[in-house]
């Protein structure tokens, strides 16, 4: 038994319509016999069979359109033929092209970018200037624009107080005082808008972090120097986990509408050289282990300080965490970064007298302040959050 298939009659023929059978089942057919007529884009073409035999069963009836390669009829073999058996084929000439799969799925709908660091005036920087600045260890973000609004080699050279770039090859140490620039102005504008539009409320708690710091010290004895955990990492995780139970603090407020976020992307406030401030996201901080959070920080902070931040890191934070750090001040009352609806400020860790079981002892404590958007939440949300955070930090091994 063999099969008579729709032949390919042209390089671009994909299908044909069977118009007429010129032989009937039971007929003896020979190689070269015209046995059917097929309608194609070029007109009706008679098609021949390439073997001897008996036409057995008609599979496709007149009027049907089938693809090149599809079976039209069965032929019962009679005697020897020397037809080259066609290889089994599953698809005719043209395959449907792979559908392009969209790989972009923004994690939150943020129609407007957070103002901080994104509302800077556009700075056109030539590739050569970028490269030169990098070689010199210069922060390109702090170089002043030249004519035409462009930062070119000349501007980089000027920022360095060096003669024309083409003659200087060795990098020189950077020596500059603080220069007010576009970033400072942009931060100012953003903070002013925040205070203008967002009714801030503040709730503070001072948390006993003795257990937390003891756990951290112990954890670090088991790690090499380069894998050391800084307290910020598990703290970020703890904050993120605590936020899961307070959706009113984790989301974005846009066009008079609050959208709580199902992810917790913690923006980590980072100081930049020269006085700038930026809070890039650590995505899904609640799902990370402290080591993973540390790895992210280790990669993120230097990169951001070098001026290479990713768009998603700027647009995605659902909450911001600002840690003042060692030897600074007791507490911090930060300003919310719109379109976020809360911000958490951590003061320095201090040793303070503490009451435990009715007795005075010394504990390591940190004051955590939540600023909230009163349009979306109130002090109770913040208080619940702080309690939750406290509980988590008392069981650091669960992080």
């Amino acid at each position: 038994m063999s099969e008579f298939r729709m032949p390919a009659l042209g390089a671009d023929m994909e299908d044909g319509t069977l118009v007429e059978w010129l032989r009937a089942p039971g007929d003896t057919i020979h190689r070269g016999d015209i046995i059917a007529v097929v309608e194609t884009v070029k007109g009706a073409i008679e098609i021949e069979c390439f073997e001897n035999g008996i036409l057995d069963k008609i599979v496709v009836s007149p009027g049907a359109t089938v693809a090149v390669g599809d079976v039209l009829a069965q032929i019962k073999e009679e005697g020897r033929t020397d037809v080259v058996a066609p290889e089994p084929r599953t698809k005719p000439i043209s395959e449907s092209p792979d559908r392009a799969v969209s790989i972009l799925s923004p994690s939150i709908a943020a129609p407007s970018l957070p103002i901080a660091a994104m509302s800077l005036p556009p700075r056109r920087i030539s590739p050569a200037a970028r490269k030169r600045a990098q070689q010199l260890g210069l922060d390109i973000e702090t170089v002043q624009v030249g004519p035409g609004g462009v930062i070119g080699l000349a501007e980089v050279a000027a920022a360095q107080h060096l003669p024309q770039p083409s003659t200087a090859e060795t990098p020189q140490p950077v020596k500059r005082g603080f220069q007010p620039d576009g970033m400072r102005r942009a931060i100012g504008a953003a903070m002013a808008r925040s205070k203008r539009e967002i009714p801030h409320y503040y709730v503070s708690s001072t948390l006993d972090l003795s257990l937390f710091t003891a756990w951290l010290e112990d954890a670090n004895t088991k790690r090499s120097t380069q894998d050391r955990l800084l307290y910020a990492a598990p703290l970020i995780k703890a904050v993120a986990v605590a936020l899961r139970s307070e959706p009113a603090l984790n989301g974005v407020y846009v066009k008079d509408n609050y959208q709580p976020s199902k992810n917790v992307h913690v923006g980590v406030a980072t100081a930049l050289r020269g006085g700038g401030l930026i809070a890039p996201a650590i995505h899904d901080a609640d799902t990370l282990t402290p080591d993973e959070a540390m790895a992210r920080l280790r990669e993120l902070i230097p990169r951001v300080r070098a001026g290479r931040i990713r768009g998603s890191e700027m647009t995605d934070p659902t909450i911001t965490l600002s840690i003042l750090g060692e030897g600074t001040a007791d507490s911090l009352h930060p300003v919310i970064y719109p379109p976020q609806v809360a911000i958490i400020g951590c003061g320095a860790m201090r040793e303070r007298p503490w009451v435990v079981d009715g007795a005075i002892t010394v504990r390591r404590v940190m004051t955590v302040t939540v600023a909230g958007d009163h349009r979306v939440s109130d002090g109770r949300s913040a208080a619940r959050f702080l309690n939750r955070l406290d509980k988590i930090l008392q069981e650091p091994q669960q992080l």
Binding site: R5, P7, A8, L9, G10, A11, D12, M13, G32, T40, K42, G43, A44, I45, I47, E48, F50, V68, G69, D82, V83, V84, P86, R89, I93
Partner: protein
């Protein structure tokens, strides 16, 4: 067919060879049609079925050192010239063992060993090239001719006019063979030429011309021997208008809306194999059994060619940029 032919060996051995060559082409082309319909051969396929007498007849009068320029309908010419059917089939399959290493396909069968220059896909495009090959022979005092095959459709192209003029002007050793099958793709000759006698075009350009019955292989051989002798004698170019007919469509994807089935059937009755068989059998030079035996022999050859092509490997993709320029000749490959 005629009763006698000047200069043609009419004995059994030669006639058997003519039959064999024509049957080989017929069988090879039919196999190609089959292979094309199952997508083993791709692109364009132009079959020579019905025109076998032309290539076979002409080749009898050519020497090994003569050059051949042909068109995209050149499988028959390649086989009659002696190119191995295995390599020609492998070329159709696009395999590295093909005549043109798989780079040319059906329309560009090339073989330097046979001075077979292909295989040109632009109608009329090969004629100036043939003129140039003949020019080189003349300037280098080499006694060989260039045989240029083309269809009657080429007579409309400017290059036909330019080439024949140059050949006549410079008295070049070109044998122009026009295979007039009446149709340039879908356009009948009388719809495209005010003067349908192509030989007259040639003569008007100064190239002596003959018409030949392209369905009669012996007439083709006779006319070619005569014309080739004149070319070799230094008389300049000669032109043959072989009147013939293709039994199949222009190419595979052609509904033949432009001609009558009755006309095709009429020509088939006068087909080269039909006529030749009748002529040789009537005169008792060849027998029915001879033809059957040849058909069997040829089927084996073609089957072997298909097996060879099927089994032959493809060129590796890494060799894509090979043979664009001459390797090592300059630094062209070092940069792009």
């Amino acid at each position: 067919m005629k009763t006698s032919y000047d200069g043609v060996d009419l004995r059994r051995e030669h006639l058997l060879e003519l039959a064999r060559q024509m049957i080989l082409i017929r069988c090879f082309e039919e196999k190609c049609a089959e292979l094309y319909s199952v997508e083993k051969i791709r692109g364009f396929l132009h079959l020579y079925i019905g025109e076998e007498a032309n290539a076979v007849g002409v080749m009898q009068a050519l020497e090994a050192e003569d050059a051949i320029v042909a068109t995209y309908r050149e499988h028959g010419h390649a086989l009659a010239r002696g190119l191995p059917p295995t390599e020609v089939m492998a070329e159709m399959y696009g395999k590295a063992a093909g005549s043109s290493r798989g780079r040319g396909g059906s329309m560009h069968i090339c073989d330097a060993a046979y001075r077979f220059y292909g295989g040109f896909a632009i109608v009329g495009g090969g004629l100036p090239l043939a003129v140039g090959l003949a020019l080189a022979d003349k300037m280098l005092s080499r006694k060989r001719l260039t045989c240029c095959f083309f269809g009657e459709g080429a007579a409309a192209e400017g290059e036909f006019h330019e080439s024949l003029n140059l050949a006549a002007l410079w008295k070049l050793p070109v044998l122009f063979v026009c295979e007039n099958n009446g149709y340039a793709m879908g356009t009948a000759l009388e719809r495209s030429e005010a003067v349908t006698d192509i030989y007259l075009h040639a003569e008007s350009l100064g190239v002596p011309a003959q018409t030949v019955d392209g369905m009669d292989v012996l007439a083709v051989e006779e006319a070619t021997r005569l014309a080739a002798a004149k070319v070799r004698a230094g008389q300049g170019p000669q032109f043959l208008e072989n009147r013939t007919y293709r039994f199949r469509a222009h190419s595979m994807f052609d509904a033949e809306l432009y001609r009558d089935k009755a006309e095709v059937e009429e020509w088939k009755r006068r087909g080269p194999l039909v006529q030749f068989k009748a002529w040789t059998v009537d005169r008792g030079i060849l027998t029915e059994a001879d033809f059957n035996s040849l058909e069997g022999e040829v089927e084996h050859i073609v089957a072997e060619a298909v097996r060879f092509a099927e089994a032959a490997p493809l060129e590796p993709v890494a060799d894509l940029a090979k043979d664009v320029m001459t390797p090592g000749a300059s630094e062209t490959e070092a940069r792009s």
